[in-house]
Amino acid sequence: MSFINYAAREINCKLVYYGPGLCGKTTNLQYIFSKVDPNSKGKLISLATETERTLFFDFLPLELGTIRGFKTRFHLYTVPGQVFYDASRKLILRGADGVIFVADSQVERMESNIESLENLEINLAEQKMKLESMPFVLQYNKRDLPNIVPTDELQAALNPRNVPWFEACAPKGTGVFETLKGTAKLVLNELKKKT
């Protein structure tokens, strides 16, 4: 749910990184956090288990700059990817202005990708939201690993509507900002349509 504050001349949007466990959602946020000017970001909050698996969410507030006199802020959230944290995932999806689905490119993770994408659609439907009618991009992560699925197969399995997609290697940062930018563009254009 975007929040336009005319008093402070601010636009605030919420982006959610979704995807199966260990696909690299938190790594995306950590990379962004490490590269962004300290004045443009807040704290990276990770509510994780002792083994650094996301328990509830990661949160990174990001100020991208000014656009037509409006300060543009994005609040980036990740969901816990593990199947049994579904209740938490639903909560974090609430009010999302855009969703980034991070897919794990490894062959053995294809089933988890498909399962997680279906789970995303179910959870959105519960909130009377549809993937088709909201800003949505895909990130094919871990492209540096051996034993990965070719992008055309990933596209056929995960992206039938051919929404914007990006190849990535999150720990090195490849594709991380491209994905964020692609999503921000869709979100701001959607907001533009609404005003």
Binding site: M1, S2, F3, I4, N5, Y6, A7, A8, I11, N12, K14, D37, S40, G42, K43, I45, L47, F56, F57, F59, P61, L64, G65, I67, R68, G69, F70, T72, H75, A87, S88, K90, L91, I92, R94, G95, F177, K181, A184, K185, L188, N189, L191, K192, K194, T195
Partner: protein
Amino acid sequence: MFGTDLTLFEEDERRFTAVLARLCTDSKSRAVFLIDKSGQLISSAGETASVDITSLASLTAGNIAATGGLAQLLGEKEFSVLFHEGEKDHLHISVVAQRGILVVLFDQRSSLGLVRLRVKRASEDITQIFSGMAARTQQEAGRGRAAFQTQFAQITDEDIDNLFMR
């Protein structure tokens, strides 16, 4: 009613701030925050400089969402009030008008009873402001884009690209 995006104009901001400032004084609290349920800060009053407000807003929204999930699990509509007791500082968190979260940060200068009492009155005022906002947003939507008179509609792809140039 509140399923739409939130648009805050100067006048609403002033009204919210006035209510929060009064609540802060009347309840002898350190600081008061009004947060959107999705984790965005709407307004605040009191000693806010020492608090990381953005993180507070996000964590509070997560907290309320998790508690709401628990309530539904138990067949309750919601748990509308949360109280966190610390050694020095305490937090009183309540849901207002279904879409806002009112957070009161207080210490030994106040008491839970006083905070609860003052929050009740402030919540009524905040609910009224939210209702006014919702009605106005509907009216504005009806009048269409032109009447909205926002520069926002003129944003180009180039403007968006420039955000990432820094």
